[in-house]
């Protein structure tokens, strides 16, 4: 069993003429890799109608509706995160109630507001109430902001996690893309943060650090935008880093099954 906790799908409103082809390709390659469940999000309109990381409320709703369509088209194989923009707190909570009520399994926070901001507290409380995890886009570069997003780092996510010990958080892509060497030392001590192995970052020392710093019960597998890099990291852990089979199973699926309380494999998948 293999569970991808960090996937994305495109939609008719995402501004990509090839969105069907890309979504089909994700599922086709997923089949080849043996992915049992794609847990995925749609970030608004992917920049078409409002910025990817600062989506307008209406566009958040459009994206979530599209995500649920994909989930319903592939029952037991695709599961949705409800994406929210915490700057619109009332709307965010309405979205969470609505889409989790429709069967989505988690909450996705990207980069509209730093993770440590009090505006995220009601969202973290809602996640605990619904018993679902929050996947938070994280990369570390504290020296300056970067265009297009208000990215959080691991320390900021940890501040939120400490305030909400009943809520389970997933730190996206090992903090990679940013300076993961800061992130991993922070999350080592914050036991309600899991780390996903997705993302384009494939640094050798990053992988050795993640298995050294984070207990395997808190590692989950994922792909994000590039499936080959996620798959390569899993293969490296298996064939080069010498991770034991039982630990690999935790990463491949067991931890995610427990986090999301998933029932996978319906409808012939």
């Amino acid at each position: 069993m293999l569970i991808d906790v960090h996937a994305h799908f495109y939609t008719a409103v995402s501004g990509r003429w090839d969105w069907r082809e890309r979504d089909a390709r994700r599922l086709e390659v997923g089949g080849r890799l043996g992915i049992t469940a794609h847990i995925a999000s749609v970030l608004g309109t992917w920049g078409r109608l409002s910025p990817t990381y600062f989506p307008a409320p209406d566009h958040v709703t459009l994206g979530n509706a599209a995500m649920l369509e994909v989930q319903r088209a592939h029952p037991g194989l695709v599961f949705g995160y409800c994406t929210v923009n915490p700057n619109y707190g009332k709307h965010a909570l309405e979205e969470i109630d609505r889409w989790l009520g429709e069967g989505m399994v988690g909450i996705k926070l990207a980069a509209s507001r730093r993770a440590s901001d009090p505006l995220l507290d009601p969202i973290a409380e809602a996640a605990a109430k619904h018993g679902v995890p929050i996947l938070h886009h994280v990369w570390q570069h504290r020296r300056r902001d970067w265009p297009g997003q208000e990215a959080s780092d691991a320390a900021e996510l940890a501040a939120l996690a400490v305030r909400h010990p009943r809520t389970k958080f997933i730190l996206a892509h090992i903090g990679g893309g940013g300076d993961w060497s800061h992130s991993l030392r922070v999350v080592r001590k914050t036991t309600n943060i899991w780390v996903d192995l997705s993302g384009s970052g494939v640094d050798v020392d990053m992988l050795h650090a993640v298995i050294g710093d984070v207990h395997p019960t808190r590692l989950v597998w994922g792909t994000d935008a590039t499936m080959c890099t996620g798959w390569a990291k899993l293969r490296y852990l298996e064939t080069a880093a010498g991770l034991a089979a039982d630990r690999l199973e935790l990463i491949r699926s067991d931890n995610a099954l427990e986090l999301f309380r998933l029932e996978v494999g319906h409808a012939g998948h």
Binding site: R22, D23, R25, R26, V29, R32, L33, W139, Q140, H141, R143, W146, G176, G177, G178, D179, W180, S181, S200, G201, V202, D203, V204, D205, L207, H208, A225, T226, M227, C228, T229, W231, A232, K233, R235, Y236, T239, A240
Partner: protein
């Protein structure tokens, strides 16, 4: 054709702790694990050395006993007064190529110093390896302000130096397109690209470029030990490219491009 990695390194990297991954033993173990026959290896410490010659000698020594697997790619610093001696040493060593790191050496990629080195390499029968980047810009150490190579610099260098053969590593789709379609077909034929920074599925940038730019322009490169070599291997495995194209990227294209029958050795 042997599977040949044009983008490997040995040695310590100033901004990260690579540990045993900096050693030839580690690299050879990864190559064995993944079926990589030969690696062109640069030497990471020399990217910041005003005089790379001592580091080049360390590289030579490190690969001396395994020259059938590890081909040295010495660093030339165009600002070093006696750089010609270093090019001559690379030729004597029968290196397949030399490396320039203009961003780290503080020289213009297509400026007079770099052009002079490139012209010397043409005469010596050496290819030149350039890396667009070594790490994601977003994760750089605060003191690593070297920046990234720009497409116009590669276009300018290839146009300026007749006969120059460039191996460019760590380029993404946009970079490759802006160089390839900004050159004449004859100029573009003198450039090959490693696939280490190209996206695989679901966006499939590698497959797209094979269709638009042509398969012969792409060669196998990993960027290890800064990056896991598995990423390049998996990218090919997950592609829908034809077996001939896959074999070409793994080694055949490089061999033909260099005019050698042994895949670049």
């Amino acid at each position: 054709m042997p599977v040949t990695d044009v983008g490997a390194f040995l040695g310590a990297y100033p901004y990260r702790h690579l540990g045993s991954a900096a050693s030839p033993e580690w690299l050879l173990a990864q190559m064995d694990r993944l079926g990589i026959d030969v690696a062109w290896v640069g030497y990471l410490p020399t990217i910041l050395h005003s005089d790379p010659a001592p580091g080049n000698r360390e590289l030579e020594k490190a690969v001396a006993q395994v020259r059938d697997r590890l081909e040295p790619v010495p660093t030339i610093n165009p600002e070093q007064a006696l750089w010609q001696e270093d090019v001559n040493a690379a030729a004597l060593l029968r290196a397949p190529a030399i490396r320039l790191f203009p961003q780290y050496q503080g020289v213009a990629t297509a400026g007079p110093e770099s052009r002079a080195v490139a012209e010397s390499c043409v005469k010596a029968g050496l290819a030149v390896v350039l890396s667009v980047r070594l790490e994601d810009l977003r994760q750089r150490h605060p003191l690593d302000r070297a920046g990234e190579l720009e497409p116009h610099e590669v276009r300018a260098l290839i146009r300026a130096v007749d006969g120059l053969r460039l191996v460019v590593t760590h380029a993404d789709r946009t970079f490759i397109e802006e160089v390839h379609f900004g050159l004449t077909p004859e100029e573009a034929d003198r450039v090959v690209w490693d696939i280490s920074w190209l996206w695989g599925p679901p966006d499939d940038h590698l497959q797209h470029l094979v269709r638009t730019v042509g398969p012969e322009r792409f060669v196998f490169g990993t960027g290890t030990p800064l990056r896991i070599p598995d990423a390049t291997v998996v990218k090919l495995e997950l592609s829908d490219l034809e077996p001939d194209t896959l074999a070409g990227i793994r080694g055949g294209h490089l061999g033909r491009w260099l005019g050698r029958r042994d895949g670049g050795r």
